[in-house]
């Protein structure tokens, strides 16, 4: 266990270094963007004096290295990511408001991907080469080749407009007094309002599903082939001959080794999920971090852009680190190298 802590520590430091370099590169790039972001943000009516004042407040009139150092100092000392020229508030306030909402959506999607992917893959492998397997494989193939926004549009049309099972977008109103974590569902649960939580889940279902179907399909394919590989493994064949019951064989002896490749690619799926959340949040008008990030990007808001790449990098890296830890727990052959 000590080893695991050490690994986590080492990886975190590594991630931090990568992110520092990356944020500097992005900083440098943003300075190269043509046009004055401050002028764009304040509009053409504001006097040159005000613009100049704002510019110097934001360190835009200093050399790149100084500006970067100032930005870094803000983060380290105050958790301050600078001022957003798009929302005109500190970027950290924006992050606190929007990030939890997106994390909650991503969490539900992540759970769906794992559960559904493994379930479909297992069914497909157990009933290999039957109509059921073929059906699952056909659906997975379609799932892999369909862009998430197409899922979003189709589901909205079918389940939202035609069948009217789910709301077509937006979020339920939630009393600001209730807000504690910023995650809508969690806040509702903390307040003990289960009806509201149910309603929130209903709003989240279509976006979460559209977000996860690509990955579910991919996971199902991987899990199927890794299950099949294990079915053919000598030790399983031996166990079957030795009379171990089939269902026990599948649940006890095959599930664990089959999880290793499934879990390993899960990290990549999370990367795709974070990216695709942009599109899905737009379609379903879900006011989360991705939609905020999109606005920041489209408005070329310098501090905003650096902050969101930083945040996405951290989330991506932490998820991957957790997955690596999980895989090393599952697979005795992989040792944690510190």
């Amino acid at each position: 266990m000590r080893l695991a802590y050490l690994l986590v520590l080492k990886r975190l430091i590594h991630i931090l270094v990568v992110l520092l370099v990356l944020s500097f590169v992005i900083f440098a790039f943003i300075r190269l963007i043509p046009g004055d972001p401050v002028r764009i943000s304040l509009g053409p009516m504001v006097s040159e004096e005000t613009v100049q004042k704002m510019r110097s407040e934001l360190y835009f009139d200093r050399p790149l290295v100084i500006q970067y150092a100032h930005w870094l100092k803000g983060i380290v000392t105050k958790g301050d990511f600078g001022l957003s020229l798009y929302t005109h508030r500190p970027v950290s306030a924006d992050i606190a408001e929007y990030l939890p909402k997106s994390l909650e959506l991503a969490l539900y999607s992540g759970i769906m991907i794992l559960v559904m992917g493994v379930l479909l893959g297992t069914i497909s492998a157990i009933f290999k080469n039957t109509w059921l397997d073929n059906l699952v494989r056909f659906i997975s193939y379609l799932g892999v080749v369909t862009p998430p926004y197409a899922f979003g549009v189709f589901f909205m049309l079918l389940f939202g407009y035609i069948l009217k099972w789910f709301p077509i977008g937006g979020m339920p109103k939630i009393d600001p007094a209730m807000t504690r974590t910023g995650m809508l569902g969690l806040d509702a649960l903390l307040a003990g309002d289960f009806a509201l939580y149910g309603q929130i889940l209903k709003y989240m279902f279509l976006p979460a599903l559209s977000l996860s179907l690509n990955s579910i399909a991919y996971q199902a394919r991987i899990h199927r082939s890794s299950m099949i590989e294990n079915i053919n493994a000598d030790y399983i064949q031996f166990a079957e001959v030795a009379g171990v019951k089939r269902i026990r064989l599948i649940m006890k002896h095959m599930m664990k080794p089959s999880f290793i490749p499934t879990f390993t690619i899960y990290g990549l799926q999370v990367g795709a999920l974070l990216g695709n959340a942009f599109i899905i949040e737009v379609i379903f008008r879900y006011a989360g971090f991705s939609q905020y990030s999109l606005n920041v990007i489209m408005n070329k808001d310098p501090y905003g852009i650096v902050a969101i790449t930083f945040i996405f990098g951290i989330v991506f890296a932490i998820v991957n680190m957790l997955i690596d830890l999980g895989v090393s727990k599952l697979d005795p052959r992989i040792s944690l190298e510190v």
């Binding site: 990356l22 943003i30 963007i33 080749v145 926004y149 049309l157």
Partner: protein
């Protein structure tokens, strides 16, 4: 002497190609993929000739025929400006393929080159620098990186391709790197080194021919992913700007017209699915025939 002339006329490469084609053509799904791709490329190349209303691919307005549902005159209906959706889809298709190819042209050679260098000069400072550099670009989800980079330039299909390419090359570097390391352990590479064949010849004649099948397969599969990413960027307004049609933007701009005018979103979305399906089937088919072990 006579005998040797007979043998020379026999071309082993052609023979191997024929064998591969035989294997490829035995799988109906691979053939389906190939046909889809061929049809799609045909439609894209001759888009302006084949489009029934080519002027609708730009800024044309025809208020006499707005929001018409699919019919014989307008196979996929018309939009809010009365433009023919089918014509716009054809031109959008052309841009989608162009972006896919452009990204691959920009990202693949660069990625492969770095991967070859890092893999061949394993355990040197070159490997460290290249792989750290690659890691830097892989630390952010590709779509986000592509979007951020895209905003740094002007919005055009060329610069959105550059943005995607910047996010994409690291995957080729990593793939090539891993492949080179495994091939470099083969004795024929050691033999080539020992016998004094120069580095470039070893990399390009001994190593590369053994790894390009995997790269080619990835390229085919990636065409699909790139087209999805590019259309996703169009979807949020990056890249190709209206009135030039792009499949992603056609879907996103018409979501507000759901459900009455469903054809505005459904047909372009289906076309994207078809393109990606074609490239995936083709990629899987290539994968089947390319693996040497799979003989």
């Amino acid at each position: 002497m006579k005998k040797s002339r007979v043998e020379k006329s026999f071309n082993p490469r052609l023979e191997a190609l024929k064998k591969s084609w035989y294997k490829f053509s035995r799988n109906p799904l691979s053939l389906l993929g190939l046909s889809v791709i061929m049809v799609i490329f045909f439609l894209a190349i001759f888009a302006t000739v084949l489009a029934p209303y080519p002027e609708d691919s730009g800024l044309s307005v025809n208020f006499t025929r707005t929001f018409q549902s699919p019919s014989r005159q307008h196979l996929a209906g018309t939009d809010e400006y009365g433009r023919d959706i089918f014509s716009r889809m054809l031109v959008g298709l052309r841009y989608s393929l162009a972006i896919g190819l452009l990204v691959l042209i920009l990202a693949v050679p660069f990625g492969i080159l770095l991967g070859l260098l890092a893999g061949y000069y394993k355990e040197t400072w070159l490997e460290t620098i290249v792989m750290r550099f690659t890691e830097l670009f892989m630390s952010i989800p590709p779509l986000i990186l592509a979007m951020v980079i895209c905003t740094m330039f002007t919005n055009s299909y060329f610069f959105s391709s550059v943005g995607i390419a910047v996010a994409w090359w690291p995957w080729y570097t990593r793939l090539t790197y891993n492949l080179v390391i495994s091939v470099s352990n083969e004795l024929y590479v050691l033999y080539a080194k020992l016998s004094g064949i120069n580095v470039l010849k070893i990399i390009f004649k001994e190593i590369l021919p053994n790894i390009y099948p995997s790269i080619l397969t990835k390229m085919s599969l990636d065409m699909g992913s790139i087209i999805i990413i590019a259309s996703s960027m169009n979807f949020v307004g990056l890249g190709i700007q209206p009135p030039t049609p792009s499949l992603g933007a056609m879907v996103s701009n018409s979501i507000s017209y759901l459900p009455e005018y469903w054809w505005l979103t459904v047909f372009p979305a289906l076309l994207v699915i078809l393109i990606v399906l074609g490239f995936n089937l083709l990629g899987d088919g290539l994968n089947d025939i390319m693996s040497v072990e799979g003989k």
